[in-house]
């Protein structure tokens, strides 16, 4: 087994002073070069937890977080952390594909340029490699200057993955990345997720349990802000330990 790429320790999170905690005492390892899936009924805190992993919750004004989140042992909430650099190292792909209103090439080149890439041949290489990794190169190579919005939904989502990859992140966070895609496009993204773990650490939120079972190595089941059960996906889906996990995954919930 690979070592933990990210670790959370007793993580509590509330969206405001009076709101009940959206995360309660979550302690978890996210192993390097593996896919970790977060499942649970909607509103249980999956997205909240995912966003804690690259400080996306910083945008919520009254949010309170206690506990620790470590990336390679470094506390990402410590004051000296450069949040922009953190988000480069821990990239994110969202539910709906959100390409920028530029060409395909410019979408992928956007991050590297922000980071200072100037040499066009270097940028071309990054664009090609990223599109290849995202499984979009063959479809996009002849239309790199077309608008990103001219791609199909599934292609757009793979473009967003290419865009995330282009800045060479170490961890990829994905929040229901296929929920807006048709089954064929979903299958392609799932295939991609499994390939990505060779080079990246992947954490994926999904409301589709079969998807978690298909793509992940480790599954974490959340319920009302708590991490109920966490373990190898093969074990969670055949012999879960906690009755609440059992009830949820077999659809006998509530």
């Amino acid at each position: 087994m690979e070592e933990a790429k990210m670790v959370t320790k007793s993580l509590f999170m509330s969206y405001s002073r009076n709101a009940p905690p959206a995360l309660k005492d979550v302690t978890m390892d996210i192993r390097a070069n593996s896919v970790t899936a977060f499942i649970g009924p909607s509103g249980c805190g999956k997205s909240t937890f995912l966003r804690c992993l690259n400080r996306m919750n910083d945008f919520v004004r009254d949010a309170r977080i206690t506990g620790r989140v470590l990336l390679d042992g470094m506390d990402i909430y410590s004051p000296e952390v450069d949040v922009t650099n953190l988000r480069r190292r821990v990239g994110m792909v969202f539910q709906r594909p959100n390409p920028f209103p530029f060409s395909i090439r410019e979408n992928v080149a956007y991050g590297p340029k922000l980071l200072g890439a100037r040499d066009e041949s270097v940028i071309d290489e990054i664009v090609e490699n990223s599109l290849r990794s995202a499984g979009l190169w063959e479809e996009a190579r002849d239309r790199l200057n077309d608008m990103a919005t001219s791609l199909s939904g599934g292609q757009q989502q793979r473009l967003c993955i290419a865009r995330a990859i282009a800045v060479e992140p170490e961890v990829l966070l994905m929040d229901e990345p296929t929920s807006a895609l048709d089954p064929i496009a979903t299958a392609r993204v799932e295939e991609l997720v499994r390939e990505l773990k060779r080079d990246y650490t992947v954490a994926i939120v999904t409301h589709n349990m079969q998807q978690a079972a298909r793509v992940s190595d480790t599954t974490a089941f959340f319920l009302m802000g708590e991490l109920v059960e966490y373990g190898p996906t093969d074990v969670i889906f055949t012999t879960p330990t906690d009755q609440r996990t059992e009830d949820y995954i077999t659809g006998r919930f509530g």
Partner: protein, 224 residues
């Protein structure tokens, strides 16, 4: 949707119970026919085999359909695996009952009823009934009790061998008939093993851990 899934799994269980009772019937008829030299009854066991094969096949087909349709996990998945495997074991036990019935049809001599053979068969039937009750009540303990009972079946098998040895020594002409009865003891021993498999499946389905029947059996040292 999940209420449908639950209903379908329940109805699969009821087919397992049906198969279990056909199997029990075949086994008890085969044993009765053997000890009472009742060839008509033995022929009945042969005739009943097709219905059992058909029901076992149906259980398999439906299990796979439910897997395809619902992609079951956790208990549901284990339950369907258990149904597929239990159907196989029950069908095999019926095949063994058929083999016993064939021996009865083959026997041309009358050997006095053995003290150990019929009780041996009864023990296997008892195990089968206990396994089915464990399935009905989802009772791991009851299923585990099946394992220990298999020791008694082995003891009866030894008893059958000893008895037949004595018979053949006293009346060498009965040697060939005796050999056939030894076959029956072996068959019953294997039927006991299949019931043990059933009980293991039931434990796994209910509790999610693979129990090894051997853990509940006598050790070799205890046998000495």
């Amino acid at each position: 949707m999940n209420r449908f899934k639950d209903k379908e799994i329940e109805s699969l269980f009821s087919r397992i119970f049906e198969l279990g009772s056909l199997t029990e019937r075949a086994l008890s008829d085969a044993i009765w026919a053997l000890s009472h030299h009742d060839k008509d009854l033995a022929r009945g066991v042969l005739e009943g085999d097709d219905a059992v094969d058909e029901l076992a096949l149906e259980i398999n087909t439906v299990s796979f359909q439910l897997i395809a349709r619902y992609q079951p996990v956790a208990f549901d998945l284990r339950a369907l695996e258990a149904c597929i495997r239990m159907a196989l074991d029950l069908e095999r036990i019926t095949d063994l009952a058929v083999s016993i019935a064939r021996v009865t049809l083959d026997l041309d001599v009358r050997i006095k009823p053995l003290r150990n053979l019929e009780p041996m068969g009864m023990r296997v039937i008892e195990m089968l009934n206990l396994a089915m009750a464990a399935l009905l009540k989802r009772d791991v303990r009851a299923a585990e009790n099946v394992f220990a009972m298999d020791d008694a079946v082995d003891d009866y098998e030894d008893g059958v061998f000893t008895e037949l040895m004595e018979i053949v020594m006293a009346t060498p002409a009965l040697a060939s008939g005796s050999n056939k009865l030894i076959t029956v003891a072996r068959i019953l021993e294997r039927a006991g093993d299949h019931v043990t498999n059933l009980a293991e499946q039931i434990c796994y389905m209910i509790a999610g851990n693979r129990v090894r029947a051997a853990k509940f059996r006598r050790t070799r040292a205890e046998e000495e």
